[in-house]
């Protein structure tokens, strides 16, 4: 057994040096790990292993295997020269010659050849075997006690098989993962061992096996003895080894021995080209680096237009000079300001500097950066073709007739009537143009004369006045005042008897007209004509209660109908004086009604909600059109005496002019007031209109409307009248023209009522 072992050993040795002798062992396979490790340690390790391996049965140490182990490791760690020695030995071994070798140092008992005394022939004599422990292999441990069986049969059983006595051989205890790891740490050789299922223990790999692994890892042939560079054996070539039988009986084609004519022609073509210099065989095909220039612009240019040239940079001004006039030099503040601004926001990309001499001018440090920025502009910046306007900005202002040619219009304030500091919300001028009635927030209604401003009469009510409005009839003379939820009808003093009678008859007739079939919630209360006086209202209408007084009263042109607008739903009432009857024309209206207006000639009715103006036909009771002024909140509205044009003012400072024949959209939108518009009014006879605003100003316009449908109305701003003070953000509340005169009456938040004359 030992001999066999040694034999195997030597064979191994032979294989290993063959591989490793030419070069030191490759680093990829570190065989010399743990060179310093003492053999005792290893022995101990081995003992441990065996301890672990066969737990209870064979506790003794296998010295034999130890030494073998040692041998292996030493072999593995042999230095080249040693291995060479071994090689020599091996060679000798391999020869196993008959010659005597006095080398008996080996473990293997060497046979000696001696001349037999008996036969006289040489014979081999082996040394005697000493019967000590080493000589007997029966004492060796045979770790596998279950026989040569497929071990996977017992993979999931606690035992690994049965021993010769039929007893179960239990699976030796194996440490847990931690133990395994510790083992790998403690034992540097651990990685060269593998678990042997047959033996149920870790068995170190032999150097051959390790070598095979190394070869497999390196992608070499695993067989160490394989020689990839064997000399070729020429089986079918060479003298006397020719194939005698051809594969095909076809006669050999001509092309096998005649040179190709076409190939020759092609070659000759190239040759000729080379000779003539058309082909330069050694010239690099990339053209010479030097660009060749030729008259590129000599032939006709294409008809396509040239691309637009890039805009040229601005030429430098005086400030960029190295020696600029002194006034260009920045002051300290300018310099600081320039430095504080971002480079992109700077108006100039440099600070003017002054040098006494040219030799003192330093290099400009931003030069490359500026060139680079220019290039970025050239290829990265979007370009837009802009037409540069070479016009005088003044020419953009429309040419309008001079205001002086459009006289008369109000120019100056002729008189002023004070309302003791209360806001005057409403004003109305009598149809004959002689009287003005104003109402303020304190509940005072004043009647005064236009020419001199003399107050004729004053009425005092308890709460603020919502609206006052003269009846447009000339045969009677009275006006309506809206307070709380009432509308009072008053007539001025000192009326001619005929007119007074007519007025009294109109407002409180002796025999009342029959009450309407459908009772209205509005109550008509009148004082008999005999008892009526100028001090108290002759007629009062009790509207359904609402928190605010009616904000607008508007008369129909004929003076029989009066429309009132109060807050809230169904706030629009139409009152007929002759029939003493009130009715609400709209059951329901989208949006809160701001204003209403009668058409001057047709039975049309305008209703302005917050954003839209709707135009209804009262006779047919249907919606005619909806005008969209584009104003967020409509504040005022008036219709031109011709009835074809409407102006609408809004709290968002806009004034829209609608041509009713034309479109639902405004013909013109004007924005000239700096605050909300409060009131607009057309003059009944003159081509004038005025608007007042919270900025305290009144703007007077000339507005000529042509009968010709094709000509647009002419609007000329004439005059801005200033004189009202702005109080608490409120300016001029109301403007009214005086009929038959180009005069204007305006009422403001400052408690003043002014008359503007031409």
């Amino acid at each position: 057994m030992a001999a066999a072992d040694v034999k195997r050993h030597s064979k191994k040795r032979k294989a290993a040096p063959e591989e490793e002798a030419p070069a030191p062992p490759p680093a990829a396979f570190p065989q010399d790990v743990g060179l310093e490790m003492g053999s005792e340690d290893e022995g101990e390790d081995g003992g441990d292993v065996s301890d672990d391996g066969v737990v209870d049965h064979f506790p003794e140490i296998d010295t034999r295997s130890d030494t073998e182990d040692e041998d292996y490791t030493e072999d593995g760690e042999d230095e080249p020269d040693e291995s060479e020695e071994d090689e020599e030995e091996d060679e000798e071994d391999g020869e196993s010659s008959e010659e005597t070798s006095d080398d008996d140092l080996g473990i293997f008992p060497k046979a000696k050849t001696v001349i037999s005394d008996i036969t006289g022939q040489p014979k081999r004599v082996y040394p005697d075997i000493e019967p000590d422990y080493d000589s007997d292999s029966s004492t060796e441990d045979t770790p596998n006690r279950v026989g040569d069986i497929p071990m996977h049969w017992y993979d999931d059983l606690p035992h690994v098989g049965y021993d010769i006595n039929g007893k179960k051989v239990l699976r030796p205890a194996r440490g847990d993962e931690l133990d395994k790891f510790l083992k790998t740490v403690e034992d540097p050789e651990a990685w060269t061992s593998a678990f042997d299922k047959n033996l149920q223990m870790d068995k170190p790999l032999s150097p051959e096996e390790l070598d095979i692994i190394r070869r497999l890892q390196q992608g070499e042939n695993p067989d160490a003895s394989y020689d990839p560079y064997e000399p070729t054996v020429e089986w079918f070539t060479g003298k006397g080894k020719e194939e005698i039988m051809p594969l095909s009986a076809a006669p050999e084609p001509k092309r096998r021995w005649i040179p190709s004519k076409w190939e020759k022609q092609k070659v000759m073509k190239i040759v000729r080209a080379i000779r003539q210099g058309r082909i330069l065989p050694n010239k690099p095909k990339t053209a010479s680096t030097q660009p060749q220039f030729y008259p590129i612009w000599n032939d006709e240019p294409s008809s396509a237009p040239a691309p637009l040239p890039a805009p040229k940079p601005r030429l430098p001004g005086h400030a960029e000079s190295y020696n600029p006039p002194e006034e260009y030099l920045p002051t300290q503040e300018e310099r600081e300001k320039w430095e504080a601004t971002e480079p992109e926001d700077r108006e100039r990309d440099f600070l003017p500097q002054k040098y006494a001499a040219l030799r003192l001018v330093p290099a400009y440090d931003q030069f490359i950066k500026e060139r680079f920025n220019r290039q970025l502009d050239l290829y990265l910046a979007p370009r837009v073709h802009r037409v540069k306007l070479q016009i005088d900005p003044e020419s953009l202002i429309p040419k309008l007739p001079s205001p002086s040619s459009l006289k008369p219009f109000p120019v100056y304030k002729s008189l002023q009537v004070a309302h003791e500091g209360r806001r005057v919300r409403t004003v109305s001028v009598s149809p004959d143009g002689g009287w003005v009635v104003t109402g303020d927030e304190g509940g005072v209604v004043r009647l005064w004369e236009v020419m001199v401003g003399k107050e004729i009469k004053r009425w005092t009510f308890k709460s603020k006045i919502g609206a006052v409005e003269w009846c447009p009839r000339t045969d009677v003379s009275f006006f309506a005042v809206a307070i709380e939820d009432r509308i009072h009808f008053l007539f001025p003093p000192n009326l001619p008897a005929a007119i007074l009678a007519a007025t009294q008859h109109a407002l409180s007739p002796a025999n009342l007209p029959p009450p309407p079939a459908v009772p209205s919630p509005v109550k008509w209360v009148s004082v008999p004509a005999a008892q009526s006086s100028t001090d108290a209202p002759i007629l009062s209408l009790h509207l359904p209660s609402s928190p605010e007084p009616p904000k607008q009263l508007v008369w129909h042109r004929k003076g029989d109908y009066l429309a009132s607008v109060s807050e809230g739903q169904a706030g629009v009432w139409m009152h007929q004086i002759s029939r003493r009857h009130s009715q609400a024309p709209f059951k329901k209206i989208k949006g809160a009604v701001q204003l209403v207006l009668f058409h001057p000639s047709k039975p049309h009715f305008f209703v302005a909600t917050q954003r839209y103006v709707r135009m209804y036909n009262l006779a047919e009771q249907k919606l005619l059109k909806t005008l969209m002024p584009g104003i967020r909140w409509i504040s005022c509205m008036d219709v031109h005496p011709s009835g074809d044009h409407l102006i609408v003012g809004g709290y968002d400072r806009k004034l829209c002019w609608f041509d009713l024949e034309l479109s639902d959209k405004p013909y013109k939108i004007l924005r000239y007031h700096s605050r909300a518009l409060r009131s607009v009014h057309f003059h009944p006879t003159y081509p004038l209109f005025a608007s007042s605003s919270d900025d305290g100003s009144i703007q007077v316009f000339h507005a000529r409307v042509y009968n010709d449908l094709m000509t647009n109305p002419l609007i000329v701003p004439l005059k801005i009248l200033r004189g009202h003070e702005v109080k608490e953000g409120l300016g001029v509340f109301a403007v009214r023209w005086v009929p038959r005169q180009p005069w204007l009456v305006s009422a403001g938040a400052d408690g003043q009522v002014s008359v503007w004359c031409s």
Partner: protein, 635 residues
């Protein structure tokens, strides 16, 4: 009913593509796309509505015309770029495998793109090209002065320097230089070539370093294009001027830092038969040019040529040998050797071979401004700048050997009339008699004199610019806007204002005095003034009468009173009239449409800004002058 319109199928959505989409369509890298855009001159556009162009998104993106990108798609350069990509891949593979020979053959067959067709495409006519060489010249001159490094190869810089020298030579030869401006950034030159003003900026001679935040690749791509463009432009300019292009370089001189002088201009043999030029009816500026005119011009030019000192021309005979090598000589001269009669040497020397060059020839005398003078450059002045300027205006110039070789004469030359010197005047005690004599005969001027003369178009007095003197301000010859501040104007309106101001100040003082109650000085003048004011304000006769009485009481005689009254009234009226007008205008502004109003306001804003700027400068000047006066008084 027509077909339904779908969103994004027509209009701006189709006409514009974003950059990402363009790169995707061209299937090239962003760097290649950038290169293509630079070479082809394609730039982003601003759509009228960004939302419409970008499928409803208002994200900030750049848009290109879809058609531009479609043109790029079949651009030969793009194909070459793709070839180059595969070439680079192959080369790196060959190198990685160590296949040196195949790498070498690959390198030899490296794809190279040419830009000729792009030049022709971008500039269909020569004039288009000349109009657009400003940026190209700036870049060439910049790179000519850069040091070479790993990114900027020395051959590139050499080529830039050569192109720069060629341009300068051409400008000097044709006397095309018009304006020069010494700014803090560098020197601006303006030349007139083919009726196009070409302006370029040359940095002062210092070593520039490329800042880190500058992408050199972008600059190099531009430079690639510019080199080709300038090559073709110069070729055309030179051949039209009857010169050989490229001008041969004398390497020996170049090594001696001769700069522009290292190149020599050679006359090309003109080959066009003169018959064709004369038989053609040519009109310049609407005038018919007869052969007589041409001959006359030629005569005048040939007469002026010999004493033209700026261009060292080799003789025709010498050039002839070289000419045979030149490839671009289109026709050979063998056709009409017998026509080269000695009686018509002008045609053979080809001073005026084409009528095109006729138009480029300088007409004004100011382009030969320095012809009668000889300059000597002092050591500390920049030679390239002044050599170029002086020679472009017909002067002769020499320089010491320290400024480079190739000076046509040395300092002791008797013909020197001006010395351009830029150092403070120093007394020289140990001067020899000859030196002193020389010093007396020559005029020593500071460099600014040369430039100011050029810009003024005439020789200025040298005294202002003498050595060591404080120079007058150097102004831009390019001019500013019409309504901008003019530093040369003597502030005429301003002085009036100043007087007014002073008056007001006096009045103010007077009032103060009155408050104080000390009425000792000028008691008469003030009431008189008040009376005059009252008279001006007086509208009706009664008030006038009252004012007259007041004046009489104050001791002003009637004649002066009347005169003053009239003046004051006129003034008041003048002040009133515009005010009224203004109010009317203001009112008319109401009737402007929104668009017009915005435009008007923008224009007004710009106007106002400029006015404020001008007024600030005027104010500053006034205060500076006051300061100066005060200092002069006190000293």
């Amino acid at each position: 009913m027509g077909r339904l319109k779908q969103k994004g199928k027509a209009g701006a959505a189709k006409a514009y593509v974003t950059r990402t989409a363009a790169v995707k369509k061209l299937q090239c890298s962003l760097a290649d796309f950038r290169r293509l855009c630079i070479l082809k001159g394609i730039y982003p556009r601003e759509p009228r509505s960004r939302k419409k162009a970008n499928k409803g998104s208002s994200a900030p993106t750049n848009f290109y015309y879809a058609k531009d990108i479609a043109y790029l798609a079949h651009e030969p350069v793009l194909r070459k770029l793709r070839e180059h990509k595969t070439f680079a891949k192959r080369l790196s593979r060959a190198l990685g495998r160590g296949e040196w020979s195949s790498a070498k053959s690959l390198e030899e067959n490296k794809p190279v793109y040419r830009l000729d067709h792009i030049i022709k495409e971008r500039y269909p006519t020569f004039v288009d090209a000349v109009r657009d060489i400003d940026d190209a010249l700036c870049m060439i001159f910049l790179f000519a002065s850069l040091p070479s490094d790993s990114k900027v190869s020395p051959t590139l810089i050499e080529n830039c320097a050569r192109l720069a020298a060629e341009w300068q030579l051409y400008v000097m030869h044709t006397h095309a230089l018009r304006k020069v401006f010494l700014s803090i950034k560098g020197v601006y030159y303006q030349a007139e070539v083919f009726d196009q003003t070409v302006t370029w900026l040359v940095p002062y001679q210092f070593t520039q370093t490329i800042p880190t935040d500058v992408d050199v690749r972008v600059m190099l791509t531009f430079l690639e294009l510019y080199q080709t463009l300038l090559g073709f432009v110069f070729f055309k300019l030179y051949t039209d001027a009857g010169l050989v292009y490229p001008p041969p370089l004398d390497t020996k001189k170049d090594e001696g830092a001769a700069g522009v002088g290292a190149f020599s201009l050679q006359e090309a043999k003109d080959t066009r038969p003169p018959v064709t030029t004369t038989s053609k009816v040519v009109e310049i500026d609407g005038k018919r040019i007869s052969s007589k005119d041409v001959r006359q011009t030629i005569k005048s030019i040939t007469a002026s040529n010999p004493d033209d000192p700026d261009v060292q021309m080799t003789s025709v005979e010498a050039a002839q040998a070289n000419d045979d090598d030149e490839e671009f000589v289109e026709d050979t001269t063998e056709e009409n050797p017998d026509e080269d009669t000695p009686s018509a040497p002008a045609f053979t020397t080809a001073t005026l071979p084409t009528l095109k060059t006729l138009s480029t020839l300088p007409q004004s005398t100011s382009s030969k401004l320095f012809a009668p003078y000889t300059f000597w450059l002092s050591r500390e002045t920049s030679r390239p700048i002044f050599e170029f300027i002086v020679r472009a205006f017909g002067g002769r110039i020499g320089w010491p050997a320290t400024s480079g070789s190739g000076s046509p004469f040395d300092e002791t030359d008797e013909s020197i009339t001006h010395v351009i010197i830029d150092r403070p005047a120093v007394q020289k005690p140990n001067e020899t008699e000859a030196e002193r004599e020389r010093r007396r005969r020559r005029k020593y001027v500071q460099p600014q004199w040369v430039v100011d003369c050029v810009n003024a178009g005439k020789i200025l007095l040298e005294d202002l610019y003498a050595q060591g003197k404080t120079l007058p301000p150097h102004l831009s010859p390019f001019g500013e806007r019409a309504d901008a501040y003019n530093p040369t104007a003597g502030l005429i309106g301003g002085e009036e204002d100043e007087e007014m101001d002073e008056e007001e100040v006096v009045e103010g003082e007077g009032e103060d005095d009155e408050v104080e109650g000390s009425e000792d000085e000028e008691p008469v003048a003030r009431p008189a003034k008040a009376a005059l004011k009252a008279a001006a304000a007086a509208e009706d006769a009664a008030a006038l009468r009252a004012a007259e009485l007041a004046a009489e009481a104050a001791g002003v005689d009637f004649g002066t009173f009347e005169k003053e009254t009239k003046k004051a009234q006129k003034k008041a009226r003048k002040a009133d009239a515009p005010k009224e007008d203004e109010a009317e205008q203001d009112m008319n502004k109401m009737m402007m449409s929104n668009k017009q109003r915005k435009l008007y306001e923008r224009m007004k804003y710009g106007e106002k800004k400029r006015t404020v700027e001008r007024q600030q400068l005027e104010q500053k000047k006034r205060s500076l002058e006051k300061e100066k006066k005060r200092r002069a008084k006190s000293s």
